[in-house]
Amino acid sequence: MANTSKTVAAFLVLIYITVCCSFGLYEDQAGLFDWKQDYVGKVKYFYWDHSPSQSGKKAFIASERNVIASLHAHDGTIAWRRIFEPTVRGRIDAFLYQGTNLVSIHAGGLFVRSWQTLSGSLLWEKSLSDDINSRASGFFVSKNNKGEQQLIVATSGTVYSLRMSDGMEEWKAEMPHSDTIVQWYVKERIDGSYIAVGITPGQRVTVVTITTDGGVSKTHTNVPARWISIDTSCIIMDDAKHFACYSPQSRSLQLLVLDNANVFKATEVSAFDVPTSPESQIEGLLPGMASSIIFRAAHDRLLFMALTPQETFFTHKTLEKTYTAEVVRYAEKYILLTLSQADPETLKLSATDQSDGTEITDLSHDIPFAHYHGPPTKIHPFLFSKKKDSSHRPGCKLIFLAQDFSIHFAQKSKLNDENKAHWRREEALAYILAVQMVDLPVSENQAKFEDEFGAKEEDIVAMFFKRLKAQFSQLKSFTHTLIERALGHHHHHAKSLEAIEEEEPQEEDLIRDDFNLHKIIIVATAAGKLYGIRSHTGKIAWQQFIPELTPFNRYGDQKLVLIVQRSTAHFPHEPQCTVLGVNQKTGNGLLVSFNPVTGALTMGKQGHSYDTGFKVLQAEMITDLDSEFLRGIILIDDKIQAHVYPASSESALRESHMQYFFHLINPETGIMTGYRLIPGQQSKLALEEVWNLDLQKSQQTITGVYGKRAVEHVHSQGRVLGDRSVLYKYLNPNLVAIVAEGEEQQQSSVSKGSPTPFFSVYLVDGVTGHMVYHQTHKRSRGPVKVVHSENWIVYFYYNEKHRRHEMGVLELYEGKEQSNSTAFSSFSPPPPPLVLRQSYIFREPLYAMEATVTEKGIASKNIIIALKIGGILSLPKALLDPRRPVIPTQETMEEGTIPYVPEIPLSAEAFVNYNRSVFNVNGVFTSPAGLESTSLVFVYGIDIFYTRVMPSRMFDVLKEDFDYLFIGGVLGLMILFSFITQKFAAKKALKRAWK
């Protein structure tokens, strides 16, 4: 009885605290402080909608980010979108469209799904194979005798024929060599039977014939092909008698005659007098020409090739300086549409009739196209006849893709009003890898004030004159804004700005606001594209495309490093950001420096990017500023040599009062090595190996290393307990958390054979290699998500024993005495810290999490969690406190700890994105704002979402609904009344005196 009442009390306290600490938005605040943008990713498959009612109004796409979507052609917005798992299970192998049928085939035939074209609702789903590493293919066939559409799906082991109406299986054909073949190319022959070509990478191709009703020919032919891989571009020609591939190793076209297959016949591409490039591949079949293919030689060179009767290729047309071409059938004619460069900012679309070679002027036009998209890679034209004209002249809606993953739409407009029918989608924003937020520069007036104090030695008269000048200009701008406001001009201005879009950033617009809440969000994407996004509107302020910039890629884990080398605080020096990636051509490290506010690239000796000349293993920013207020970057090359970028920043290392240490972790060997950096006098930086730590590669693999963020400040050095004593935090700035996951063979007889997963968390001092703490979780598995901040580590994992997700928390304390209150040195460390630990049930799986950061670290911390259900949760750290008492006492109440409850509650008000769900989140980025109470949150993935959170509520600003007029009015009235009553009182006193 007592127990239940206690739990009830605990719950009441908990509810009270969660309600008071988290707070939702009001309805009318939705979208005021936050914005969300939806993306689809790099387009893999594209179809125009040809259904009678929606013809040309919509387009269907399937993307590399495992998304299928329908886009409106008039403005590029998403009509509907379906997102699949980001893992291999959601991979789209084939995306087929015909009439009103839309089918997606996933993960080697694990799922075949049919979609309703108008709404994107699922019609039927079928699972055919669970060999997810192979690739499935498929196509539609229509059987005339039944008048019914069929879908042929080829998985690695079986070819299925499915009825399109309900997905029922008509027949299936077991294929040979199903264990080695990863992909089948299948085509229908004229007589209704099928020819199938299977690929075994690095070995051979297998040719099989399938009869109309699913019978497989007993004999199949194996043709050796050592050059073939899963990514080789191959095609079965129109006549279903030839199979053509492009082999990038030998730079030749390989042709196989399917009827009497015995050997591939190679044709060197160089025989056609065209150089090959990494982009070389077979683009597809050429409609309207028998046995012809489109071959891409380079990004601006296309060849149309046909077969001679002797079964060799010949080029019948070469398109020079053409990025992409497409042949479309329109009104019984085959029209060739090509896209080429007219001038640096314009593309030219030209259309020619294939039969007589005449140009169709109705379709040809120029398209404005900014240089920062790279060359176009593919066009998808949609031809229609203009019904309004009696002449039935053709019109063309054109969607084309560019190298930076952007989708562009262009349509020739009658009245030559450009831009009207033109939109684009920046799909590179679905591939964000690194984020930073940079303060906007102060206004001109503010800068003048700063300038006043910046100058070192000046006499009083000059300084006075400067001050007068600054204040005069301030007055001038104030009157200017007053006049503008009075004329109502300001409003119009904002409107027109929106209309011309983000192309020309207005200089006065990129100015810091009062509380420094508006920032520039710098993002670096896997496409090699950099964007500056205005945080308050979500509009793109600038963009830069660096085609040679590719991310570091270790086991599919892509990474770019983005570093703010100089903030905007050092006027008149320009701010500087640097992104570090891999040079696509050389494989070396590539550094690109730019001004984060304007987007201007810093020009060096090698142009706008700097090839380091070595492979970069690790990089880190130095905290000390050099003489030009620049923070250098230490780069470690593959020979374990240290370099500093820029080289001039090395002086900061020499002059620093700190000692520099570096630690490197090789996940292949599981060894962590510590180095000391010795800045030599002769500009050569030496690395001296100091210690080694073996993390037992044989049992576990290191999956993550998490240090503390450099921008973080910790205001409070301890924690006040209930008896008003202080528990000092263990704030080791060099502490890193290392997570290693592994599997353990069960020894007991109960469950023999099946290994049980476990993971370990190590807290290691990065300077001395001293292991501060170590914890192993048995029967738990990752992926482990970690947040490391202040004196605590929060990690998220899956508990196999209880089959639930859990949040573990470690908090480190020095104790009630601080051993050294002025400095922290890892060489004379405080006694081993007191580690408090606890784990809580967290019922939802999550994508990513991050702790909030504020300017001075005074406000309490929240953890921003992107949940897989689409919500973004702002969870107070107080709920993840290991000191939460099981039995609340007076003392714990005094301390303010929440009574222990095993489960972390998810309150609906704590979802900062209310109904704007975000999926496939890759990361969460937080940044401090000028206000101590506020932290800015940027969530990126397939969608990007921005908002601000106040972990300790808005304690430093009056609320928005604060009634200034009322309070001011009351105050004024009271002053007035006090004057009047004073007068009255004096009068009364005088009267009384006269009595």
Binding site: F552, R554, K559, V561, V616, L617, Q618, A619, E620, M621, I622, T623, I634, I636, S656, M658, Q659, Y660, F661, F662, H663, L664, I665, N666, P667, I702, G704, V705, G707, H713, V714, H715, S716, Q717, G718, V720, L721, R724, S725, V726, L731, P733, N734, V736, G766, V767, Q818, N820, S821, T822, A823, F824, S825, S826, F827, R992, A993
Partner: protein, 172 residues
Amino acid sequence: MSKRRNKWAIEFVQSNRGRGERALVASTENLPSPVGFENLSTVAERPREADPGLINKRSWDIALGPIKQVPMNMFIMWMAGSSISIFPIMMVGMMFFRPIQAMLSIQNTFKSIEGDQAAFQKLVYCIGNLACLAMAVYKCQTMGLLPTHASDWLAFVQPQERMEWSGGGMFF
């Protein structure tokens, strides 16, 4: 000469009386004294002849005043409790305010303390006030308003300076 005609006159000289009742003095000089009227000067001289015991007693009254307040203060303190809300704070404020005020106006009070034990009485008066003050401080202490713990100075503790810089991580 003119006094005869005027019934009253304003006296400016004797102005250090209360503000409201200043001024009106009937010009009665030339009126004959009423029946039974005695000259006041003889009455005024009477206190001077008062016995020193009375003076001593009065001085003790003043000197013991603060100490007499102590039990009352104790009762108020007990009533107020140790929760931090407006009334206890007001009480504590009053308890601080009164002794401090008394100490500030100690010169005036000492003027009225006369007699042969004056020095001792002054001392007792001071001790009484200090006791009141001490009680107020004790009350603050029990309410937890005094910054006597390390936690009260935590906000002023500077962050530890970093002696070593470390960086790095996994291979890219």
